[in-house]
Symmetry: D2
Subunit: 344 residues, 4 copies
């Protein structure tokens, strides 16, 4: 079996979660998220973000979170603004449009949006009522390219959105990796202050399933549970989500796992930098995109699995390497060894 | 803590499932249902239903299964026919309508449909193009009232649907309980022959989450996976579903669990029948609806939780008791004891 | 050619409208309802209803008006309450459900709703978040059966809706006929006070196309035009709607036309009553539903077209007769003559 | 009053249409498009396109035609490909997305698509089932920029679409102008052979309202009328559409009107070319986009209305001039005079 750097959801879940599932397994609990574990996990999250007025809702995965949030807050004629790299644009089989809403795409190679990107989109959508009304800005942190938002960048975006009556929604499928990146200066508390809605992704950070949607804007909390149910996302055994987030949120586990993933990626990155290998984007999270020659790709492919992301020229391509909460240090060392041997 | 007869999803899952989750936990597997466990579980199901041409798809829950199946097979102007008791009509927050399709309701107190129920609906929908076109018949087995279809009944319905170009779709959230009922004469093989689509419910029969959708009509299999993804139902860690169905389908576990649930309900039923207690409907699965006096309800409520289903008269109400794969025999005995003490 | 009593849209339009279309034909005007005729027609309507704060919007037909209004005011999980006779339930090919919303049907043979009909529906929809939330009460005036609301009835309904946070929406496809019925005591001003939204139907009362939607509830006016455009209902040559309503609203034409239709229907009704013919419902508008023997139906069918509405028994059926703004008095007299000859 | 070159729907309709409306006004006819005029008009269109197997359907306007066609032929996970200039992308308030379908945009300044534009889009949408499936190619003729397709270009596109199982749908809101352009070599018969669906736009070519949708692909005709009704587009008095198309299709009126519009635009174009004025795109239909200095724009604006389309530099902008079936030759001459005086 080859070791895989294809993604951060190749393994099951952190052992603490399985132990907790066993521990609580036969307790009878109310269904549909009214169980004690879900209630406790939500309290814990409110503490961590320091916002007792937030609404916390658990769902199974990222596409589900995105489509429920967006279809819940927008009126039929309102639309989303996203960077062209956005997961909702490219990798969700039109899930957002299936709920009736257009996504306006802004070409951004590094995956991040700033007010100056959005201004022309607003300018070009003033022909009332012949055009959709931009109403929600969708960002990812970390982005689909592994980049992250600085506090200053997020503040600027947040101020701009409020001034322009736009909701700011952060896809946090890899939020753990963003917040534990060595270059991060954002806190959970910042996120609850600066966004209307964000979520803490569990699936890509050690849970079996699960994203915790956090609605900071109290107006958007009203009746939100109806939307979860209507979209088929309300688990009868909500305990499965509650127990997982209870474990992840205790003792900093969620952040320790993300940090581990980041560190393994940075270890590979640094080894490559020493060999003066260029990167498609300069990232500090668990996704790296080195540009390597095809010979090396072939060598690495004998022992490892990863995606070839983008052809660069005749001789080289960018590859995508993703590390996870469970990435084996030995595998990382072997991977680096092959590189060093090849490039010496 | 009171013991609960409120539903069959109060506990976690069968211990075999947890053991399997632990056993396979750190294996790296492909995402999105391409893992080996999902592949094996699907093969196992095809064997059990004796239909190698079936398409098998795992999703998380019943509402999700219903909305994906229905929105996938219908054209925009086509609609569903359901008994008035149908889960899709009453308990899914308009999930089907949210995908654009009307449900025509047929008043049926016992929850089952026959050709004679459907004929007048077809007769009343011939004003083309001013009315929706009935195209899919939705039935549940066991029904929301615990009743089940006989082989003869399902055959009649199946023949009628084929003659009238209607799809026949069976909600099998509690299919295990139906097929292991003492009055059942249907087999899995019958279901694959007689329906276009049905599903094997895991959530209410010992899984944490999970329903296995089985598409027998090959025309309806085309591109079905797109719909799963678009509705946010494709789990990144599809292994969670695969591992569970692998365990449930091995060694008859799925049916043993359902049988246990049924037996506990029948035990209570028989005790009540001895006391000449009437029932709202005559069921042989894990749901029973005895009509008892309010004094007894109060007594039982001191130690047990259950739903009061329907007020009958000044003195009595129907209650709903649901047993599960994990219902404790001691609890059942205690419950019967209270009844016997009260009614002696 | 047989004379038709099948409906009130068999002819073109009132000649005044054609004259106005000719008169203004070559004036260049702004598109999409910004033309001077539309602006004037809206002002005229505001005067007639004595409500300067109403929002007036023209669309082409009833189904279009219904689907735009309903999809515009409801959130995804909210639903409509309608009498079982409602046009939106039976004759619009699932147009409302196609926008994502369920319609709850209340069995009412005469087509009218009262608070006591709605109370049990609200009672049965309290299982949050597992059920749709009733939010809009849809009524028709006159109803699909020709009956009308009294001022007292509408006041009761209006008070009830406001107390229960329900929107009250009146389908006015045949509102002219309701307001000019001999048994009517409602005024346009009452309607603007008692409903959130209603519309003045033009198509069935002398226009080529056109319904004037009147939104009294100012919160529901916001951005309404976006919905009209998105549903394909914003005519480039909005003047076609503006000119028609300008004519219809001048000199009481709209009401004169409806009154004429009603009078012709009442003439037939009275002739039948004299012969002690029973009716399916006791109506005072342009729709009547006499129950006549099959021999007479055959006789009448030789010279007239009409719908056989409902079989009553071996010998008789209810027929539906609809008169229009243009129903010929001679035809009415001929029709009565055949009846009198047959029943003498 | 200034003369307007803002669009081709500023006036009412061709007088022949008004005369026909008067002539047939009081005939009683069946509703919902079953009237004799609609039937005859459809026969006439089938003759003109020389395709007796085409399905012909009348609707009111372009957005309506687009949304009904697209939502009717696509499955939920299928999407549209359009040039970035497409009307459905920019000017229909998200009407297509509101029916659940994504539109993939291809950046094309001149508004036309070729196979080489589409190939990379197909290449980039192979990640089944995580991405939408491209299924329909939407083109406009003439385009939103006044350009047209040659026979060779349309043949190439048609062959490509058939080889790739893509539907080819032509928005013909300005089809008359395309087919009567001096540079056109396409016939109506070519269109019925080369596209799956196209429409003949009436609204922008002398009708009050009305587009004639022509479905050549017989598989796509099935039950199409249901979709028209469900979207609120089936007029009770379908005669209004039938009578108009009957007039337009007789004696070549439709094409004569478009030709007149084109000629007026070409007259202005040639006058500008003589003065060596550049154009944004080289068009031969009723839309021209000359780039003129701001001083001239101001002068022209004193007597004429038109849109300033795009700022070019400090001194000049492209303006959009649209001529219509009714554009006054005197106005055109006055307009040219101002230009000649200014640029002499």
């Amino acid at each position: 079996m080859k070791f895989s750097f294809k993604n951060d959801y190749s393994e099951g879940c952190h052992p603490n979660i399985l132990e907790a599932l066993i521990r609580y397994n036969l307790d009878q609990q109310a269904g549909y998220g009214e169980d004690l574990y879900s209630i406790k996990a939500k309290e814990l999250i409110k503490e961590k973000i320091n916002n007792q007025n937030a609404g916390i809702y658990f769902v199974s995965g990222g596409t589900q979170a995105n489509l429920i949030v967006i279809s819940s807050v927008l009126k039929p004629y309102q639309c989303v603004i996203s960077a062209s790299t956005g997961h909702i644009l490219n990798n969700e089989t039109g899930a957002i449009e299936a709920t009736g809403h257009k996504i306006l795409s802004i070409e951004k190679e590094e995956g991040k949006l700033s007010p100056s990107d959005i201004i022309p989109v607003l300018e070009n959508h003033k022909n009332v009522p012949h055009q959709v009304m931009p109403k929600l800005v969708y960002i990812s942190n970390s982005t689909e390219l592994g980049t992250i938002y600085s506090k200053k960048e997020l503040e600027d975006l947040s101020v701009f959105c409020r001034e322009n009556s736009l909701y700011l929604f952060m896809d946090g499928a890899r939020l753990g990796h963003a917040l534990t990146s060595e270059s991060n200066d954002l806190s959970l508390e910042d996120l609850t202050n600066l966004t209307d809605i964000f979520y803490l992704g569990g699936t890509k950070n050690g849970a079996l399933i699960g994203e915790a949607i956090i609605i900071n804007n109290q107006l958007l909390q009203e009746d939100f549970a109806f939307n979860i149910k209507q979209k088929g996302a309300l688990l009868a055994k909500g305990r499965l989500l509650g127990i997982q987030f209870l474990e992840l949120m205790q003792n900093n586990l969620y952040f320790d796992l993300a940090k581990h993933a980041n560190q393994q990626a940075m270890k590979i990155k640094n080894a490559l930098l020493k060999k003066e290998i260029p990167f498609l984007s300069d990232t500090y999270t668990n996704q790296i995109f080195p540009i390597v020659n095809h010979e090396l790709i072939e060598l690495l492919s004998e022992k490892f699995e990863f995606y070839i992301w983008k052809n660069i020229d005749e001789n080289s391509s960018a590859i995508r390497l993703i590390t996870s909460w469970n990435t084996n240090e030995d595998a990382v060392n072997d991977f680096i060894q092959i590189i060093n041997d090849h490039l010496k």
